[in-house]
Symmetry: C3
Amino acid sequence: MLFPKSFDFFDLFEEQTAQLIRAVECLRDLKEDGDLKKHSRKIKEIEHDADGIAHKILSSLNKTFITPIDREDINLLAHNIDDVIDEIERTVNRMNIYKIDPIPSEIFQIMELIYKASQEVAKGIKELRDPKKRDQVLKYCEIINFIENEADDILRYIISKLFDEEKDPIMIIKLKEIYESLESVTDRCEDVANVLETIVVKNY
Amino acid sequence: MLFPKSFDFFDLFEEQTAQLIRAVECLRDLKEDGDLKKHSRKIKEIEHDADGIAHKILSSLNKTFITPIDREDINLLAHNIDDVIDEIERTVNRMNIYKIDPIPSEIFQIMELIYKASQEVAKGIKELRDPKKRDQVLKYCEIINFIENEADDILRYIISKLFDEEKDPIMIIKLKEIYESLESVTDRCEDVANVLETIVVKNY
Amino acid sequence: MLFPKSFDFFDLFEEQTAQLIRAVECLRDLKEDGDLKKHSRKIKEIEHDADGIAHKILSSLNKTFITPIDREDINLLAHNIDDVIDEIERTVNRMNIYKIDPIPSEIFQIMELIYKASQEVAKGIKELRDPKKRDQVLKYCEIINFIENEADDILRYIISKLFDEEKDPIMIIKLKEIYESLESVTDRCEDVANVLETIVVKNY
């Protein structure tokens, strides 16, 4: 058969955001026990699982002639969701390597925003298959953009505070990188929102 | 009506570069009074205005069936011009947060190159609608590439000098980031030049 | 004539990877004599030559109506190979600016991985024109991904060691940047592998 099977890209994207949700729940657990080693290892596993799903989406795409939404948007969406998870993994790994203990409360504040933005990403993906949910998807995107702006403002304030208060240059190097990495996570969420927006505006 | 109105993308791009010019004129004003707080706030406003225009271009694009130039090039051009302005805003914000006072003369040297490159970007956008101006647009792109190379050379020299002369690691962290951020602005100008070049070569 | 000549994109890509191989051989020579100044200058020349080839590919693309593989993949492949060389040049330039002497053995360990990944990139490009070599190209891509993972693991270990052992913040700033820059080189090799994979899966 030329077309041995068809792929439900929406199902695959939901599998991908399920991994994203696993990752951000891990961030919440981190708040409970502060055990960077344990959660860093766990998020590494999640990132690996997510990689497998992203690869499945891309290889399915290359075997499919007719796609429900534009090929380049499927490609971009899969990459962008994967990038959110990668950046979360990278951040927690760095926190572990740098032995950040205790974890400054500002970090949990940003992680909470990442948790919320990821929930909106997952909701957007869930409704993407339904043209009648167009306005709802756009609403989720708007919330993600709002959260990204909020995270940006908080991070600028935190970095300013870091340079005002911390006198140890090595600690500045460590925390600055982690703050920037957290900012990057929210930027990657915004990238997902931008693709979601493009998809619904183009298609529905 | 199916097509309630048509969009003049060239006009919208000119609106966008008008904001870019406002931003780089703000950099020049900064040289006069060194008031980072004031100019940082002003550039934040400009960046916000520019965001609105970029969003207008992208939503117009999604509502338009026939475009004067390839859709993906319109998309890319809007994003890339926006990225120049974002990076300028980010740089001046960091200078303000880091309380860079006095501002090293090297920074103004690079800002002057950014000013020039942005003028060429604006000229390129202005002539883009006229196929007869093809060679002029290519000339502006060449100048932007030349400026980017010059900025790159100067920044490498400045970073080398920074590590030779500055002994305070925290000051090195601050200035290194700002120099890299300035380099990034010229890289983003070059990205715009690359899209402009692609557009005229493809279309005229 | 409308079509004065046709371009052999595969030949041009091979010219491009020949420059990449020159660059990584330069990294090997660096191991012999540790002469950063000499090899930094040489890699700058190679990067310049490579730039010319990339530009030739992109301008050929803009003059060609029928391409052997998708236009956007040619564009992406040319940019991505160029990015590998740029990042190698940037890394060695920084090592020179920072006067890294002696060069830590960890750096040569990663450079050896970069050498290997680049060889696989060159092999993949060489076989790309032959549909019968599809599975071999995919095999090279797999090896590149494997090498990138290995480099990632090693670099995380090295950065952890750096913060545990080095007490001079300025040396930490320098080496951290160089390690991240080396990681970036392997990331850029992986980007090339991703495009190669897309091309063979789409076309053969």
